[in-house]
Every structure is written in structure tokens, then in C-alpha cells.
Symmetry: C2
DNA sequence: GGAAATTTGTACGTATGTATC
DNA sequence: GGATACATACGTACAAATTTC
């Protein structure tokens, strides 16, 4: 699964869509922890800031929660 | 009005407080446009990213709205 | 119509601080 | 103390939308 820098949809938006899809198909379980920012950065080949932008969007939408020092968790 | 990098409150948070105070005291009018990101960056001596962080917080709280190419407006 | 200026949006990189394990 | 993970803050560059001339 990769992101495409050549289409008009921003990378962070594409990443949101991938993460949401993975939550819905059970790849990431509700109540479970998402991969770390660095992990996602490496997997998708984007900057950490882009990963954070996507994650913060999930948080803003109430899909996830973030705790400093622990990680970002999918809301049950 | 300046921000203080030496206290624990993040700069973007301090900036939010200043902007909210200015909205409440009428310096920035409801329905009116806030100063541009570059203006705020210069006035407060912080990075544009810090200004954007503060503004996005206002948007998330429903205090302001942003339009690409136009500006950030205080909600009436 | 079109070029320039203004303003927000996206994306990158780096460094350091704070919290948790 | 060390390793891991998120948080803050700086800087840069270019894209996209709007306004102005």
C-alpha cells in the first residue's frame, strides 16, 4: 500500500483514507494502538509531519486518541 | 504583546490566548478578517507553523474559519 | 485576459523537549 | 538510565486560491 504524490489528493488525506480502511477491515483493532509515527513514516515514505497531520485528523474526527509517550489508539 | 518561550505553556497556546483576548475586546471584530499568517509571524516573532497551529486551533474550536487565498475570519 | 502580489495549503527536513515503558 | 513515542518549534520550498492592477 503506497501513497501517490502525483494526484491532487493531499498525501495526508490519502493516508487518512488508508488508516480508516485498515481500522474498518480490522487490520488495526478498536481499542488497539496504531503504529508509531516513525513506523508509518517509514512504511509510506512520507515526512513525519505528514503522518502527524493525518493522525491529528483522525483525532479531530473522534476516530483515535493520542497520548504523549504512549501512542495513538483507535477509539473502541 | 509578546509571547514568552521560557514558560511551559506552548507558544501556539499563548498565541491562541492572545488572539481570543483580542477578539473579545474587539480588536478583531466578529465577521472580520484576522491578520495574515505572515503578519502574525512577524508581530510575535514565531515561525509560521506556530501561527498556523494556533489558527487551526481557533478553527477547530469554531471561533474562526479559514479560506485558501483569502484569509482567516472570525466567526460572527 | 493575464501578470503580479497576497494568503492559505501541502510537504519536506531538523532539533529539542516531554512522557512513558 | 536507556529506549521508545508523541509534542513543540524552527526553517525552507513550492502549490493553489484569491485579489489587484
Amino acid at each position: 500500500m503506497t501513497l501517490d504524490p502525483d494526484i491532487s489528493t493531499p498525501l495526508w488525506r490519502q493516508l487518512v483514507d488508508v488508516l480508516v480502511a485498515r481500522i474498518e477491515d480490522g487490520t488495526y483493532r478498536k481499542g488497539g494502538r496504531l503504529p508509531s509515527e516513525v513506523s508509518l513514516q517509514q512504511e509510506f515514505g512520507v515526512a513525519r509531519g505528514t503522518v502527524r497531520h493525518a493522525l491529528q485528523h483522525l483525532v479531530a474526527e473522534g476516530i483515535a486518541e493520542t497520548t504523549n509517550g504512549k501512542g495513538t489508539y483507535v477509539r473502541p
